[in-house]
């Protein structure tokens, strides 16, 4: 995965091409349609979950995160992503910027992202950070 990221991010022309594709009116319409459909499907699933199981996406995330070892492992994996994150070139970020500009994207992505505080707080509870600290010493 790391090698693949490096390969992609080192090919600036590819990212620039993607950036321009995203900015192209026809691609933009297509992306908007896809994103809107995805958003609707996601909303429908969430409504069903709320009605049937009386659970929100955040509840499920919190439950999943409470499974044994999940949180320490997730945090460890996140720190292992360092080389990939370091390898991201500006064009990769600009691609993200252009995707955000596509009509409909902000409406779908931002409310989901707004809930990440819950994820972070659950993920990084003091005992989990402790555990990560202990592992650091052992290693």
């Amino acid at each position: 995965m790391e090698r693949m990221t490096r390969w992609i991010t080192s090919r600036r022309y590819l990212l620039l091409l993607l950036e321009h594709l995203v900015s192209n009116p026809i691609t933009e319409i297509l992306l908007t349609v896809i994103i809107r459909i995805t958003g609707r499907v996601l909303s429908a699933v969430l409504v069903i979950m709320r009605v049937v199981f009386r659970m929100t996406l955040e509840d499920i995330t919190v439950l999943l995160m409470k499974l044994p070892l999940i949180r320490v492992t997730t945090l460890k994996v996140m720190t292992m992503l360092k080389p990939i994150m370091k390898g991201i070139e500006p064009e990769g970020l600009w691609l993200f910027r252009e995707v955000m500009r596509v009509r409909g994207v902000k409406d779908v992505i931002m409310p989901v992202v707004m809930s990440t505080g819950v994820l972070l707080e659950t993920l990084a509870e003091p005992e989990v950070v402790n555990e990560l600290g202990k592992k650091e010493v052992e290693e």
């Binding site: 409310p111 972070l120 950070v129 402790n130 202990k134």
Partner: protein, 622 residues
Amino acid sequence: MFGYMGKILRVDLTSGKIEEQALDEKMAQKYIGGSGLAARIIYDEVGPGVEPFSPDNSLVFAVGPYQGTGIPLSSRYEVATRSPLTGIWAEASSGGWVGPFLKRAGYDAIVIKGKAQKPVYLLVTDAGVEIKDASSLWGKDAYETEEKIRNELEDRDVRVACIGQGGENLVKFAGVMNDMGRTAGRSGVGAVMGSKNLKALAVKGKKTVSIADKGRLSKLIRGTAKLAKDGPVSVMYNKYGTAILLDIWESIGDVPFKYWARGDAKRGECARIAANIGGAKMQREILTKSYHCYGCPLGCGRLVKVTSPAKYAVEGHGAEYQSSAALGTLCMVDNMAAIAKANDMCNRYGIDTIETGSIIAFAMSCYEKGWIADSDTDGIDLEWGNADAVIAMVDKIGKREGLGDVLADGLIPAAQKIGHDSINIVMHSKGQAFPMHDPRAFPGLAIAYGTSERGACHMHGIGWAEPVGFGFTSFHIGGKGVKKYSLEGQPLNTKVSQDLADVSDSLVQCKFTVMAFITPKTQAAMLSAITGQEFDVEELLMAGERMFNLKRLFNCRFGMIRKDDIIPEMVPVPVTGNYVPKGEELEKAIDEYYELRGWTKDGIPTAAKIRELEIENVERPQ
């Protein structure tokens, strides 16, 4: 007292009297330290008749229980006083090395009153305290001052917090500078320092902080340090600096352009300007290396070098997001080298880049409308995008020359002098300029900017961060998220976010703790390990609310009322779907916010709320 040095240093510059006062343990428990401790001291000492530049105004440098403990991202110190810019509560915070050194010199806070007869600086070490002559330093810029003090003391390890010529000239948004480019920038704390003829505070110490449970704390430190160093977002900030926000957030409408009057829905001029001065280009073209504050594994600081064109040649601290946007996008300047130069000049003069960029952009707006004529500018062409004009105006503001003298008093006095309709285009809260996050993109900011204790502020009520996932507020409001382009849910989000921010500023920790996944629960666990007393998040939130209310009561003392909590109406821009938080919707949100805070309809904390928060010895305006 675990976690504290147990002493407050009091200095009267008029009489030269220096004395130590024991830190009250109960006070430390209730107000934690840093900003909270300073709030209590200033509330008690700065009465209604004390003007910001009066010798009776108190200037407080404070640290908290985290400094000197090795906790990541806790290199900061707080400066607080009554603001000459806003006339109300002022606080500013800075990273670097001064905070931990101040604490290790043996003090939790330094309270400075009076006015020296001639320029002085204060030397505080673990060996003693001395008021030293600074006549030879007066007139020097902040960088020269640091260097000269180190040379004079023949000690490269001494850390210096000082003012540049901006503070000396009482520029009302002068900050306190340290470590060659770090700034306690907002609210004019540096001008108050200048009014006292105090050029600098030099600190050094090797005292250790006693910790109740070292084993528990060290595990938490190791875990958070790992996350701060290798976490996905911190890695990006280390590589590109905070200016990367220009590159990626322009498209969501968070970056302000042309003094808050522009934002392109599609990729256009704004995107071009943002990309030309953003973190990515900085990293490729002028970055020499990134640097870290004391004990910080993240390292978002930039060192840059510009050699050409010669007029912009500069080497040193690089502009971060707020500075790049204020001196860049807000003035429509797309020249990264020029922004590096303007930023360097602001740092040397010791003036706040946010306020400076904002007031220059405001002047450009007035110039465009014909309210400022060529004869007013001494020939400087204040056209949008004129990088040389921005640099020339920074110089004039720092020296208080010509139009710069008018602008150096801040947005509202400048608008009153300029006249015409200029007062109606000022983007401010309580006289302090909006920081570089847009309430039209993140509506919660309309409430946060309006109700902030120190005037418009992006660090207290971080509504810009929550919606993009860099916040913990959602956890503490029962999972109720906030909605895009709506004020629904924002009053509660803002309240909790402001209380958490006050906790952070009393522990005195960097707001980027979010990137190190240092959650409020972890903060409570760390504070418990340090002090030996168990804290939970609810207690921390209550302490935060207590500090916030105390600062509010201080502001009420100076006549702050509901209308001061309503931000000016902004113009619609297409990038945010022409959404503007305003009118009845905003008034209703403020009503809801007051209700959540336990305040009256006029925005005054009720007697019941004051009792509930156990805030003693305060008066309520009737």
